[in-house]
Amino acid sequence: MKGYGGSILHVDLGTGTISKEALPDEMVKKYLGGAGFAVRLLYDRSQPKHDAFDPSNPLIVTPGLFDGFGVPTGGKVVFCTKSPLTGLIGDSVMGGSIGSELKHAGYDALVITGRAKEPSYLLIDNDDVEIKDASDLWGSTVPVTAETVKEREGDVKVASIGPAGENLVRYACVDCDDRQAGRAGVGAVMGSKNLKAIAVRGTKDLVPHDPKALLDLSLEYIDKMTESSAYESDTKYGTGEFLEWINADRGVFPTRNWREGMFDERKEIDPYHWAPIYMKKNKACFSCSKPCGRLFTIDEGKFAGLAIDGIEYETLYSLGGVCGTGDIETVAKGNEICDYEGMDTISAGDAIGFAMDLYENGILTREETGGMDLNFGNSDAELRLLEMIAKREGLGDILADGVKMAAERIGKGADKYAVHVKGMEPPAYDVRGIKGMALAFMTSTRGACHLRTCAYALELTGKFWKFKDVDRFSSEGKGEEITDMEDLVVLYDALGVCKFSRGYFFAEGFTDVLKAVTGAEISEEELLTTGERINNLKQLYNLREGMTRQDYVLPEKITSVPIPEGESKGHLVTVEEMDKMLEDYFIARGWGPNSVPTREKLNELGIDF
């Protein structure tokens, strides 16, 4: 089959059983690849209601359909499992080369179940698959692990976890090529399986349907990209390029654990300030011609020698604004700790901001913080706490469970300060001033997330795709908007394309590239239906795991405390607005008011369940 490796690889780490099955045509037709394959396999291969750390919980790796085909920004791979943070689907997308390598080895999906008796790594060398001893690697940081496995196995691509994954930090990530499947705790599930790394060597051909057409289309996209107005600023300043605008012009940069929507001490964490000083060159995901990453180094001072791929917008928020830290070197060091220990910078920073809020409100005492003065802006405490979370020491052990569970463990009304949806800590958009995004936080199948709709850009600029004159302060019409954006955006995760290229690489363009890669003629409309199908199946999985309508709720800070200053001053999302938007959404989705897809809808989409 053109465009695919052709097989699904199953590995049971408990029994050591390794098996392969042919990729079913039906799955290709209905789910494309990447996030589509991931949810189909998660639904079919899980034991309902088992805990995320139960050995039966599958860890699934699925390259996007375009991954490996030289499509600019099209090198993404999905890591998917039941999230230990939310108990729901945890699908996390990264730009590491392991997805393409898997395809070259012949696999469109890797499904790992069971728990190895000893620390292990998986070696996939084309047709040969082996579970190998990793006892000496246990405890190693992410980069040391990757380098050691490469030294041992030669030319392989490596995805690995750090100590945070081993210690079951519920937002531990998986890293490959300094790129992370950051969110939802996929690295913790990997750790629970005693699996330190996955090493892949794939040397088989990937055959496109029409190589000439594919090269021409890809070149067209490169031209569109480089000619677009954002190319220069995005490559120069990265994802944080609009930090000043989000603060000053829109007032929706959540600050000090969502107390404020604007960070006064933001000057130094603005890439326009730090990029010229600390950035050595651009870094890119695999297969990307629009490098928004950067090699960030510190050459002198107490962090001399630091070298990371960063710092992303979300991290400027989580390790910066949320913790009240305006010192860029602290944010960089925190970023390095997260990358080395292997944890999501968003959830980690949010957890620390939450603890600082509790401390300032007298809920956490100095005794409980281990003697640390946890006021906002205490950089040393922030960095120390990151280490403690990774190692699950003291207060770090509590915060390693995410803010929802941490609030339950702490009690004393701590839940009032816990900002999360469905257990997932939020990204850098204060949705009190972005109503559509508030709905998107609630409807996202993995909890508070900006990447299941990317509706922040649409809402903040007022236009995108078929939408125009969108009012971010209004709760009207958001149900349809978010439904349509979810069904569009999930296609990027199925095809393996970066959402950061959605300004010029878009649904109508997908059809041509898809034909050049696979030979299949699929219309834009059919593609969007596929997106809808994938999202409905994600919903079915979540419902099966016990999610109910009651889980669609925004944190108290968003529904009862207005943004105090700036361009979004006075705004919040009332409970009435929340319910109205949800009602609109369930209607737009063709679901019942209890968030359950109707039988008619599932039949219409052809979903087997």
Binding site: P143, D178, L215, N282, K283, A284, S287, C288, P291
Partner: protein, 153 residues
């Protein structure tokens, strides 16, 4: 001196699009083990394009040692491997001071400049590989630098 693909490791992002489009342009398949340009990556700091100097920074040792004289200019200025004549003896690989000839299954393979319109350069808007006249000032040092950075001597 002839035009060639010149590496600029100081801006290379490590995306490896060059490797991918090289193989599909020449072979109609994606397979970076068949590419005529390779990116060496080391840690977070180093991404280094490795590609033939076309005689600009070497003495064309590959052509000199080839026992069947199959490494030569066929058209334009690119020194290429004439696949029909290659015996796969690997002498050129041993001889290349820049380690930029590889085995593609049973035959040697190296950059042929895509007949004067190199794909890797088109797919690199960040300009980590550029198509330049090798005799220009400072250009030949770029291959030496890439060789050094990638761990060669």
């Amino acid at each position: 001196m002839a035009h060639a693909i010149v590496p600029f490791p100081e801006v290379c992002t490590g995306c490896r699009l060059c490797e991918m489009v090289c193989s599909v342009w020449h072979e109609d398949v994606f397979n970076t083990t068949k590419s005529r340009i390779r990116i060496t990556k080391k840690g977070v700091r180093l991404d280094v394009p490795i590609v033939c100097t076309q005689g600009n920074a070497c003495e064309q040792e590959c052509a000199a040692v080839c026992p069947v004289d199959c490494i030569r200019v066929v058209e334009g200025t690119a020194i290429e491997v004439v696949e029909d004549e290659c015996t796969g003896c690997e002498a050129c690989i041993e001889a290349c001071p820049f380690d930029c000839i590889w085995m593609k299954e049973d035959l040697a393979t190296k950059c042929d400049l895509c007949h004067g319109d190199p794909m890797c350069v088109k797919f690199c808007p960040i300009q980590a590989v550029q198509y330049l006249d090798g005799s220009e000032g400072g250009v030949s040092e770029k291959w030496t630098e890439a060789r050094r950075l990638s761990g060669g001597d």
